[in-house]
Symmetry: C2
Subunit: 205 residues, 2 copies
């Protein structure tokens, strides 16, 4: 993958989608300029997860937009996704790499500067610095990095990265000014009245 | 696998284990005569699931007792388990077989006689006829087969099978008399004051 593909990273969230179809939100979001999509599902059956992943793959592959599956390496393999995103309590990186092979994307959430350094020892394809700001989307997160912490993470990391946590049109300019490759958003698109317009506004920053 | 290995099938359940360690329960259960173990976890992190799976694999492999992982094909691959058990809303059989290869065990839950017939079209290694009796362990199940339904399932199926749902020392003799290869138990061992003694009593039937 290229760092440019990290520019505007959508993470799906069923609970924050205001009852709207996830496939529709993803379609609108990429029409507005999202460059990569992570399908995150924590509470659906594996069969439904695979079926939705296959539909998103069919939607995104012709557009050249990578599809990343959160946590579930088996779902990623089942739908031939472009990669997986793992957190610190998901499958260890080396096991995921062994199961996925050398070519698929593996992204890793880092919640401290120590974890940024640990990620430098791994051949992850990108890191997600999480969270930059505290956010109601995820309540189990580490203390926020803040802009200064994000700057340090960017300086320390040998990997491309995205910033996540509190990303929106108001916060994104200062975040991007740190040199991070992109921003990852959940509610700023999933909960937007017009996800396409929200994506386009974020992309223009 | 052999049908004899299905004789006494333990399915783990963290919530029904009275706060006791799952690894300990499994160790006691196999000492008492359990012939196959399914690790079922619905609410733990993938990292913890993999770590527990590796510990159970190290415990069971020297004893020749197969380790089956519920639903999660990625966890099964990560811990080199002997196979997976899938339900009707888990990964479709053909996808699971593609990811696991020809040699690992795949078991399938069947909840109706129609599903027994559908399973005959697949190269599953065994079926779990579920539930024979209604049970407080799982509340989202189909109507119970009963003994007569189980007899029909055994007659219809070309695969080895286990009966699950309400299996205990009182119900097992009539269930085994239907010709099913074995019984699968959850609370009869996980919630027993002495899991080893409970397994030995069930094995002697």
């Amino acid at each position: 993958m290229t760092p440019e593909q990290l520019r505007l990273y959508l993470v799906t969230d069923r609970g924050l989608s205001l009852g709207r179809d996830i496939e529709w939100i993803v379609g609108e979001a990429v029409a507005g300029g999202v460059t990569i999509v992570q399908l995150r599902e924590k509470d659906i059956d594996t069969r439904e997860f695979v079926a939705l992943g296959l539909r998103l793959k069919a939607l995104l592959a012709p557009l050249g937009v990578p599809l990343i599956i959160n946590d579930r390496v088996d779902v990623a393999l089942a739908v031939d996704a472009d990669g997986v995103h793992i957190g610190q309590s998901d499958m260890p990186y080396d096991v995921a790499r062994r199961l996925l092979g050398p070519d698929r994307i593996i992204g890793l959430s880092v919640e401290t500067l120590d974890q940024v350094k640990e990620a430098n020892l791994l051949d992850v394809d990108y890191i997600a610095v999480s969270p930059v700001y505290s956010t109601p989307t995820k309540t189990d997160t580490a203390p926020p990095f803040g802009l200064e912490g994000l700057r340090q993470a960017v300086a320390l990391s040998r990997h491309p990265g995205v910033a996540i946590g509190g990303m929106n049109a108001a916060t994104a300019p200062a975040v991007l000014a740190t040199g991070i490759d992109g921003i990852a958003v959940v509610s700023a698109i999933c909960s937007a009245p017009d996800p396409r317009a929200a994506a386009a506004a974020l992309r223009s920053l």
